[in-house]
């Protein structure tokens, strides 16, 4: 049986470091997957960087922060990585681009969750998000990150 916890973390200030705790379900056996979604609350037209220009067709991705997740078990930190705004290069060099623009929302397949296998004996997952979006935009950027924690639950006896 699979369970899903969605935990929302709000970032308000430039360079903010936010710690949080995510309580797991009582009957969680393993953490099996991770995914996240970013929602910008500040208006993008007020100077927030949402894409990076480059001379080549390849666009660098906008890194909006760092995410670290850890449990109390021996795994310790089981996820550490950059939070990327969107796949800016979806459909790169697609020859139909001029006629029918390729976008994440029109062409992409299901976004894949990151597969992990972490013992869920711990009751809480600790984590932090370190803002970078405000740093590259040179202002306070308000946004929320929804963290999706997929769990394998113990079957009821």
């Amino acid at each position: 049986m699979e369970g899903l916890i969605i935990h929302t973390v709000a970032i308000n200030r430039q360079g903010e470091l936010k710690h949080f705790e995510i309580p797991l379900s009582n009957n969680a056996k393993f953490i099996t997957g991770l995914w996240y979604k970013v929602r910008l609350i500040t208006d993008a037209e007020s100077g927030v960087v949402t894409e990076l220009k480059s001379r080549s067709p390849y666009q660098p991705e906008v890194i909006i922060g760092e995410l670290s997740l850890s449990s109390n078990q021996r795994e310790g930190v089981f996820y550490f990585g950059k939070i990327i705004l969107d796949n800016a290069n979806y459909g790169l060099l697609d020859y139909t681009g001029g006629v029918f623009r390729v976008n994440n929302y029109s062409h992409a397949k299901f976004p894949q969750s990151l597969k992990v296998k972490v013992d869920a004996d711990t009751a809480i997952v600790h984590g932090y998000i370190h803002d970078n979006w405000g740093v590259i935009s040179g202002r306070n950027v308000r946004y929320e990150i929804d963290l999706y924690i997929y769990q394998q639950l113990k079957e009821k006896p």
């Binding site: 899903l4 994440n104 299901f110 929804d146």
Partner: protein, 130 residues
Amino acid sequence: MEENELHSVPKVFEIQITAAGQKVSETFELDKSVKKVHGVAFSSEKPDLMYHRGYARLEINNKEYFPDNHAVQRVMNGINANLDNRYWPLKKVIIGNGKVKIEYTDKPDGRTVFAAYTVLLYFDCEIVID
């Protein structure tokens, strides 16, 4: 006596989003002929708005499949996906009373400008034909 045959048929429901930040709660009923539900898919005439702003809670026969604030983006599949892989698979659906409850929330995202849009909910069903 001839055996009943099951046919794969999509069932479509529609939700109108007319205001930014709107929360729409609707209950639909599946036909009596529906015997199985294999998956669900979301579509819209403004997919960019649904992709960035759409959140949905889904319940079938009082069993929750997507919790509160579940991003529609997570279960959206574009045209690059195989035709037989467009639906987000729903496991072990018991049709029961056939009631499908959806709570769709539009949450503003600074990268989009709101305009009214329609969300179409497709269920991959098997119906029985006598």
